[in-house]
Point group: C2
Chain length 168, copies 2
């Protein structure tokens, strides 16, 4: 399906026709829709949106992170993030603690209820990703990650790499 009319012999070469690239573009579009569909349903029930998901995800990922830190990762303005954080804190999913070393900073944590939501969301997303990985196989997964990483902007890749290392 990758290359119907082309000789498969040159499998290791890149024939980057516009068609190939357009297909990649559309695959990305539809896949991202699928990728966010399950969490979106869960979030909608609680009156939240993707913005809440992103905040919860990265607070879970880096407990005690500061507001500014989150701002950089998410790439939104503080006003925008603040609106989301305000509701999450009000709803008791996130707690904010004044920094000890630097009292200007607020360190963010998930409450047990926040952890529960995060698990709920990531399970849904993980199930889909697991199914996709299983269907595609290990080789495909490696390629998948390689292309995605190559597609990031320079500074995003740095964020991503930083997060990656932290976990290994």
């Amino acid at each position: 399906m990758t290359q119907s009319a082309q000789p498969k012999s040159v499998a290791n070469q890149l024939f980057l026709t516009d068609e190939q690239l357009r297909k990649g573009t559309e695959a990305m579009f539809f896949a991202y829709r699928g990728f966010t569909a399950d969490p979106d349903r869960i979030l909608a029930d609680r009156g939240y949106g993707r913005a809440h998901h992103r905040a919860v995800h990265f607070i879970h990922r880096s407990p005690g992170t500061t507001v500014n830190n989150l701002l950089n990762i998410l790439g939104v303005t503080k006003q925008s993030l603040n609106r989301v954080l305000r509701t999450l804190i009000a709803d008791g999913l996130v707690s904010s603690h004044v920094g000890q070393r630097d009292k200007r900073e607020r360190h963010l944590f998930l409450t047990p209820e926040g952890v529960a939501l995060e698990r709920n969301l990531s399970n849904a997303q993980r199930d889909r990703m697991r199914a996709a990985y299983r269907a595609a196989g290990a080789e495909a997964v490696a390629g998948f990650r390689q292309v995605l990483e190559a597609m990031m902007d320079e500074d995003m890749r740095r964020q991503y790499e930083a997060l990656k290392e932290k976990a290994e």
Copy 2:
């Protein structure tokens, strides 16, 4: 987190730890940001957003398509799409023709100016995708597409496959 103590040696098998899956999730998040960054810049100059991009892309892709058709592909409500179409038509990028067979339908086409914008946008996105493909290599590209296709919802995949065949 489920199984951090598993042997990594079995390279050709799937060790789908939560870590693996979480990394995939984050790669998807950051990559999609990169994926849309270039078109977003172009669109911002004209006061358009991503919705305009999607509409222009799929009208270019299937000239003469109806509003309803586009609705299904894009997965939004007709009211939402209509607003975008209205501005595109007002700005002379898209033309709408009453159907001959069925006069309820409107058939959509890009004007020359619309074609120019589409080319502009797709060039930008294509350049990034091409660079990513080059960096990752042909094998990786195949895997990339496989995983993305496996990640789509059933009905999205049908849309995607339909578009794909049309082009081949």
